[in-house]
Amino acid sequence: MSPLLEVKQVSRSFSGLRVLNNVSFAVETGRITGLIGPNGAGKSTLFNIVSGFLTPDTGQILYQGHDVNRMSVAQRSRVGLVRTFQTPQVFANLTVRENIMAGCYKQTASGVIAGLLGTPRVRAELKRMRAAASSACDRFGLAQVSDQPAGKLPAGQQRLVELARACVAQPTLLCLDEPSSGLNSEEVARLMQTLARLSEEGLTILLVSHDMDLVAVASVIHVLCFGEIIASGALSQVQSDARVREAYLGT
């Protein structure tokens, strides 16, 4: 079976500075794939290229075997590529529940005119959105705060809101950008459990982090350093890699 996501020889420069140099890696269906690297390694750039916020100078992004290079962020979302952000991007003025309801956008289809008229179909959609949000709130431990504006929550809970919202959007590949930043160790442990559970349920996850502890949940890890993949494999493998040790520990 071909991999779900294939990054092929992607390069990208910013004003002459080469941030990514011929990066290639794949994400296999059903697994958690980790992408780690020290600060400034090019992780965010690569992630933005995969999700469609940036275009590569050269190279290809294949998703389910199709080239998605020319697809917008929203179009990629429609084929199942959903991401979260390093700084949680919640809809600050909406409640937690409404945030998650907004996640159902792709599972609903009513247009502006139907919306204005408040047709039975729109009301049925709203009901479905509400039900999906309720179950997601329960699942991600957000039931207590479901009626609070998401912008008022602490960072850890905002991350959960973002994660719950992304899951409601029914991704086939969930890309998480530094999901542990701003979390305390207890919250990180819970996040790891959640990710492991989602993975067991069959969700494919791409995890970007500089946190070695968190990426322990990944079955395959790619190490990015100065715009190049310097090592790939299981955690123990990459940890024992000389170049990785050098990049991370400076020894």
């Binding site: 979260t84 809809f91 529940r97 289809a109 919306g115 008229l117 959105m129 509400r130």
Partner: protein
């Protein structure tokens, strides 16, 4: 329309609010008050209230764009003008019935909003505000220069009264009973929209555009759709305006009008639907009341604006919403 005050002022919550007897009583009271105003109020007050209703309709478009979509639009005066000239020209020049002018005005506005909005709505923030301001200025220049169509500074006079099922709307009182129910229906439709998939998408786009895109929302297309809808409201209000005042000239469709529509949205509270009503009442009635203090009235109005923005940053609608929430507080928790 006042029966809506209660309902529309309440935050667009996804929780069901129970049967609040008090709320219904207040709503009914306001509705009665609204219905009785023309019987007791002076002609000039009714006149102001009719204008408030017209500005509510046009302002609703601006309010919705600003508060729900995060789009600053200073172009509403253009669509207001197109609506007014369209029906004025069709009824006086061709002798067509008013509805034809309405439809043409709304259609032309929608087409222009689509054509202009498509490129312009790629911009955001200050740049978008400036681009829409440019649109307002260009519109005003064209209204002046194309005098074969608009009558230029001389304007178009003798626009016939509106006729509703053989019932002539010849007095401000009668117009009052047309414009406010119409405004109420439009407010309700927009409230519906807010509680639909599209409404969630636009508020998502307003708060975090990148995250909205990740959920599959085509931000640009959604912005354009909402801009077109807003323009249609502007044109509808403009057409009604033309028939009400029976004379239109370029002076009514300048940049000051555009600013007034935006002012209305900000003061009224752009994030609330009822904000359009409150803002429209404010910008129509308050300057008139202040004018009795003589030349200083403009300064007083300016001071009042500043005070409102400082003390009620979420506008009157936001303050009202807070009040309603506060009153309901114990019941909700």
């Amino acid at each position: 329309m006042k029966e809506l005050t209660q309902e529309v002022a309440s935050p667009v919550s996804t929780t069901r609010s129970g049967g609040h007897l008090q709320g219904w009583a207040i709503g009914l009271g306001l509705l009665l008050l609204w219905a009785l105003v023309p019987a007791v109020a002076s002609r000039s007050l009714i006149d102001m209230l009719v204008f408030s209703g017209l500005y509510t309709i046009a302002g609703l478009g601006v309010t919705f764009l600003l508060g729900q979509c995060g789009i600053v639009s200073l172009a509403q005066s253009v669509f207001f003008g197109i609506g007014a000239y369209s029906t004025a020209y069709c009824t006086t020049h061709y002798g067509w019935p008013a509805p034809a002018g309405f439809v043409i005005g709304i259609g032309v506005s929608a087409a222009i909003a689509l054509a202009v909005g498509w490129p312009v709505l790629r911009l955001s923030g200050y740049f978008l505000a400036l681009a829409t301001l440019a649109l307002a200025i260009i519109g005003h220049v064209l209204f002046t220069e194309w005098d074969w169509l608009t009558g230029g500074t001389l304007g178009i006079g003798g626009i016939p009264r509106l006729d509703l099922f053989g019932f002539s709307l010849k007095s401000p009182q009668r117009f009052y009973y047309l414009v406010w129910p119409l405004a109420a229906v439009l407010l309700l439709l927009h409230r519906n929209l807010l509680l639909s998939r599209t409404g969630f998408a636009m508020r998502a786009m307003r708060d975090a555009p990148a995250a909205a895109a990740v959920l599959g929302v085509d931000n640009h297309a959604l912005k354009v759709k909402m801009f077109v809808l807003s323009a249609m409201l502007g044109a509808l209000a403009g057409s009604l305006f033309a028939h009400y005042v029976s004379f239109v000239s370029v002076d009514s469709f300048g940049v000051d009008r555009a600013i007034n529509f935006l002012l209305l949205a900000v003061l009224g509270g752009a994030k609330t639907i009822i904000g359009a009503v409150l803002g429209a009442l404010f910008v129509t009635i308050v300057p008139r009341v202040l004018s009795q203090f003589g030349d200083i009235h403009a300064v007083l109005f300016a001071c009042l604006l500043i005070a409102t923005v400082i003390f009620l940053p979420e506008g009157f609608g936001g303050a009202l919403q807070r009040l309603v929430q506060h009153l309901r507080g114990p019941a909700r928790s």
